[in-house]
Structures are given as C-alpha cells and as structure tokens.
Subunit: 408 residues, 2 copies
C-alpha cells in the first residue's frame, strides 16, 4: 500500500499547504480519505489517475474536508466514468451533493453508492472485499466525526512445495485445499495435514485515518498494531487549551495514541496554518513516539518500498517564493548568479577542511592569502544544514504573515 498525503493543512490553506485529503493506493485501486478543496487536482499532481478512485471516505461534514467532492465528481463525469463510486460518510452528504448538482444542472451518469453513518453508531464495517475491509468508529469532535481503519486480510501462508511432494501431493486442487487450511486425504487413505505443509499466515497491512478529534479511546482502538497511523496534529502542546476547545489533538496526543496502540509508523498531518515550521510538531511527537513522520504533500509513503517504489511519483513541485530557507536548502533551485559562486566554492572544498591559510602552488602572489573563515560562507553552510540540526531551532511564526486574524 502507498499512502499519499494530498493536503496537510487544517481549516484554512496556506500558500503551500492544501486542505485535508489523503489517498491510499492498493494494487491499482485508490481510496480517498476526505476530499478537501482541489483534491482532484492534487490527485493529478501526485501522479494518481482520478479514474482509479473507487471509494471516498469522509470523516465529517466540515467544509475543509468535503468541498473538493463536487469538483472531483464533475471531473469523473467529464471523464465518462461508468464504474460505481462508493462514498462513505456522515448522514447528510448525499443530500448536499444532490442539491449542488441540481443547481449546476448536471445529472451524474455513473452510480454513486452512499453509505451514511448516523450520529450514535459505535462500530461498523463499512466496506468489505475478499482481500480487505474497512471499519469505522466515531471520534470526539464538535460534530459526528468518523475514524477509519483500512485492513488487509491476512494472506494464507506459503505452501512448502518440497514437503508437499514428499507427502504425496501432486494435483492443483490438493495444493489449493491445503493453502485454504483444509486437510487432504490421499488415495491410499493417508491424511496430509494443512498445518504441516503450509507456513504461518502472512498478516495484512493496515492504514488508519484519524482526523479532527481530541485524544480519544476509539482512536486507539482503531489504530491497534496498525502499519501506518495517519493522525491529526493540529496544534502543539502549548496550545493544548485551544485544541480542546476546538475538538483537536496536539502532536503529543497523536504520539500517545500511536504509542498506546503500538503502531509501526505514525504520520502526523492536519497542521494549523500558524505553524510555518511543522518540525516543531514533529519534535513534540517524537518526544513520546520515536517512529513519527511528518506528512508531506504529494510525497508517497510506502508500506513496502521494495515493491512500490516508482509506482507513484509527483508531477509538480510548489515553490514558496517567500520562504528563503526552503529555497536555499533546495539544491536544484538556485538563481543563475549564485551558481557560479557555488562552483568556485566547490573547488575550495577540495582543500583540507581545517586549512584556514593555504599556499597556492602556482601563483606566488597568492601565497599566504587569508581564506575567509568558514562562517562567512553561508551558502556552503546551508547546504550542510538540515531542518533538524540540533542546537539551531528554527523560528516559529505565531501567525502567518499574510492574513490578519486568529485562525486555527
């Protein structure tokens, strides 16, 4: 499975973070968790065909999580989709979609099957297939909000061909029966036990999507032993009170859920627009649960990198022209004028790193010339730095500079 965050912002987008949506790729099918504004374009930009979307899971009916639905459905219509689309979410979804398309005088020509969950439900399997199922549980938000767990079913163990042959198994049907856990009786009456020939079942992988919730029991229940838990981390611990007021989690809350549920990997997303530096949230979460990653838009997360690499790769990159830090750390993005300089500095680098004075072999006049101290070459310095450099905390802007209001 491949998890691709399409939008990692919370209620309002920033210049580079989109509204919430996460795509899950599995064996060619795509499942969408929430459908924030512009999700259709983000799918395209992520390198995912929109026609491959089979099911859309909506967590709750807040605009930031659903306003991309209308556009996506319109595009599927223009693509002349004929496959059924499944939409799972809280009650009221169908009526809203129908009204919007009635106003725009569009009659969708493909089937949409809605599965609407009512306030008060406790646990439900909302989708079941031969190879996987999806279960839902209510979370703790200002309105009905649903958490989802996408669970692959365990695959049967591998048949040990050598052992099987020794035991006298020869026909395909017999192999199949053994693989399905059935014992096989041979013509001479010998019983070959499945357990002797077939290895342990291989556990299925799982993806859990928990967003817009305070810390809650159901999040832990959903996430138990999950392969990947995608959990909201709207705020940092210093804004804990605001988080509780608005029904959200802090990064630490997310980490506690992950730790308690013993997940393999926690991915945090749904960041408040105030955090231009989301590493602050990562640091907070890692303090509790080391195996935490930040969700990056369009950057795929593989559950099995060996098999899944290069299946999905982003088509675009959005560059924040005002974020000098991001631009400097981006090696492939440097203005022409600076390139010459960096070429020269690369030549300097070939000298021993501790040589502050050096003698030129070829030119007497340069003998003994003082080489500028290391710190005066910020560009070279930058290329070695990472956002995580210890001892150098990056600044956090309490508000984003481009809008004058107290957002969350």
């Amino acid at each position: 499975m491949i998890v691709i965050p399409l939008g990692v912002s919370s209620a309002t987008p920033t210049a580079v973070r989109h509204l919430p949506s996460v795509a899950l790729w599995r064996e060619g099918s795509v499942f969408l968790f929430d459908c924030g504004e512009n999700a259709q374009m983000r799918l395209l930009q992520a390198g995912i065909k929109r026609s491959k979307v089979d099911t859309i899971f909506i967590s709750h009916l807040d605009g930031d999580h659903i306003f991309g639905l209308f556009g996506l459905l319109s595009t599927l219509q223009l693509q002349r989709r004929d496959k059924t689309l499944h939409i799972v979410g809280p009650q009221g979804l169908k009526k809203m979609v129908d009204t919007v398309f009635k106003t725009t005088e569009v009659e969708l020509e493909f089937d949409i099957k809605y599965k609407e969950l009512k306030d008060g439900f406790e646990h439900e399997v909302v989708l079941e297939d031969e190879e996987y199922y999806v279960e839902a549980r209510p979370l703790k938000h200002t309105k009905l909000c649903i958490g989802y767990r996408f669970q692959e079913k365990d695959k049967p163990g591998k048949v040990d061909a050598e052992k099987a042959e020794t035991a006298g198994i020869s026909e395909d049907a017999q192999f199949k029966a053994l693989k399905n856990g059935e014992d096989v009786t041979l013509e001479d009456g010998t019983v070959v036990h499945s357990a002797d020939i077939v290895g342990d079942p291989r556990p299925g992988q799982s993806f859990v999507y928990v967003t817009d919730t305070e810390f809650c029991e159901n999040a832990i229940r959903l996430a138990e032993n999950a392969t990947i838990l995608y959990h909201e981390a709207t705020f940092g611990e210093p804004l804990k009170e605001k988080a509780e007021d608005t029904g959200h989690s802090s990064a630490q809350d997310a980490a506690i859920v992950a730790k308690t549920a013993k997940v393999e990997r926690l991915v945090i997303g749904h960041f408040s627009a105030r955090y231009s530096n989301q590493f602050l949230l990562l640091k907070e979460a890692r303090g509790v649960f080391e195996k935490t990653w930040l969700a990056y838009e369009l950057r795929p997360i593989f559950t099995n990198p060996a098999q899944e690499k290069d299946i999905i790769s982003p088509r675009v990159e959005i560059i924040d022209l005002k974020d000098k830090r991001a631009q400097k750390s981006r090696k492939t993005f440097k203005p022409e004028a600076k390139r010459k300089g960096s070429f020269k500095k690369r030549r300097f680098k070939r000298k021993p790193a501790n040589a502050r004075y050096y003698k030129s072999d070829s030119d007497q006049s340069r003998r003994g010339r003082y080489k500028k101290p290391y710190k005066q070459r910020p560009e070279e310095d930058q290329s070695k730095s990472s956002p995580h450099r210890p001892g150098k905390p990056l600044p956090i802007t309490p508000r984003t500079p481009f809008d004058d209001f107290d957002r969350f």
Copy 2:
C-alpha cells in the same frame, strides 16, 4: 487596475492550470470574476488578501466556475469578516450556497448581498459606486451565462492653477465648483467658465470579462473600447465544431471580438486541458488581433505599470516536473549535475560564434580539434530559444497524457 488570472483552465484542471477565476485589484479593493475550485488558495498564492474581496461576479452556474465559493466563504468566516460581501450571478446561487452551509452546520456571520439575474435579462448595471460601475449582459452558452464590464467613471479634468489665478479664483470652494463643471461668479460679477479653466475629463479604464460563450454580439457590446478584454479561448480554430457544440469560442473568435470592439488589449484564457502548448492559441489570435496576450496564472497585468508595479506579486511557483521543455527554459531550475556542464559550455561561448575549428593557444596537442556542431549542444540551444521562435513550432498534444478520456 491590476488583473490577476488565478485559474486559466476550462472544465477540468491540468497538473499546472487551475479552474477559472480572475481577480481584479483596484485601489485596494479586490473583485473576483468567477470562483473556480481553490480560488481562495490562489488568491493567497497570488499575494492578494482574501479579506479585500468585496464583490464576486459569477458568470454561470457550471461547477468549474463556482465550486471555489464554498471554501472562500468558509475562510472569510474563519477570518471573522464583518464587511458585507456582494455576490452577483445567475438565479439559484444563493439557494445552493445556503444548502451547503446548512449541511456543514455553519452560520455565516457576515452579510452576503446577492444580486441574482434571471434568464431573459438584456442589460443591467449590477454594481454602482462613485468611481466605477459594473454592467452585465447575457452571453451565448448552453445555459444563462453573464459577461461583465467593470468601468471606471471618467475623472474630471485637471484644473489649470495658473489660468484660475489669473481669472481671479482664490477659494477652495471655487476650485471645487470649477472642477465639478460649474461656472463661478466672482464678487465683481465676472463669470469664470469651468470649460476655460479645467482640462478635458480623463477617461476611466475598463476590464471586461467574457467567458463560456460562442462568438456573440453582446460580447462586442460589452468590450467596446475596453482597456482589457479577458476572453475565453477554449479551443483552436481546427476544433471550431466542438467549440460550437459546447458553447465555447475559438482563439480566433476572441480576437475578432477584440478587433471589432477596438479594445486596447486582449487577454485569452480558459484553455481546454488538451492544449499543453497554449502558444498555438496565441498565434491564432494574433493572426487577427496583434495586441493579444496569454493569461498566465498569478502573473499580474497592469493597466498602469508605472504606478502598479510591486503592489501584487506571486508567492509561489508551480513547477511541472514532467515538462522538460518548461524546466530547461527556466534558468533558475536545473539539477545539480547539469550545472557543471553548463558552466563549461559558457566558457566555449567566449570563442567567436562562427569558429567551428579553433586552435588552442596553450596546448599543441589540441590544435585543429573539431568542435562539435552547434546542434549537438541542446542545452545551450535551449537557453536561446523562446516558445515563439519562428520556424520551430512546438508540438501540441491532442490529449494530455495523464488521463484517458476525451475532455474539453
């Protein structure tokens, strides 16, 4: 006035072109023409404060032109807007917006004043202010579609201070009266005529927004002598039939409207997703009307560059990672590995351009070495090329490669 195209795609977005929306900045106020999906983020990315949006003009109720409305209104709500917002558009808009916000349980706390136009209207002034007015006329599409003209009123001419003094004008009130076109009677009974002292009125500028229409009379009426006409050019002339079937214009149609209406500048936008090379459309339009520009997303168009430069500048840049052509022509974006090469080639360039064989001064062994013919150095070649290089038409892909359907 500054015109900022926010989205220049038609029905479906491409990886780098957003759904239709154009912002008009005038003296600190922002007017939005159509509100395609993600318009709120595009405003932010263009460097425009969303709180400055005063009026939204909707051309018609097709999803691609309105699905950004819900998100934008939600964000204005979160920004705690208290100013009234005006929305002008076809009948049905208010009902749709109300239903959506009822579903998401949001009660908008700022006033929205709707001005809904009914099918069958002929001409209407939909907004009037001291300094400008906006008129609307129906266009020719598959459903009611409205074209808008934003017209600054003529400013009074400048008072010739010297002439006024000679005539005996001394008080502020007298100056004001003259400026307003009134004659002033002095104490000694002399009448000073306004026309003698005040220059000709300075004509106001205008912006005309015409999208989703076949070639039609009303477009010409709206555009008469306009400063900037933003006109759709969904197709090229070879797809004229498709354009007529779907109620759209070709680039040539747009140019004919501009030429007939004698506009100062035509800007074409609303390109079908099939055109990865929109210069084809530009070429077609320029064949009829030379003063045509392509709409580029987030690139501002100034009616008065001397005064308006640097007021609006984009915050982000979207790079299409699969468009090698675009990346090569973009000097600031080259992978590290290629930079060394381009440095070397720059050194070669210092030789006379017509020197195909050259003698090295310093090294006998290199004497007479054959320098590779020019055409084998594609990178250097690229840097000199422009999308408009005559004799080298760029390819047009009849379909975009990422989706398998016949879109428009």
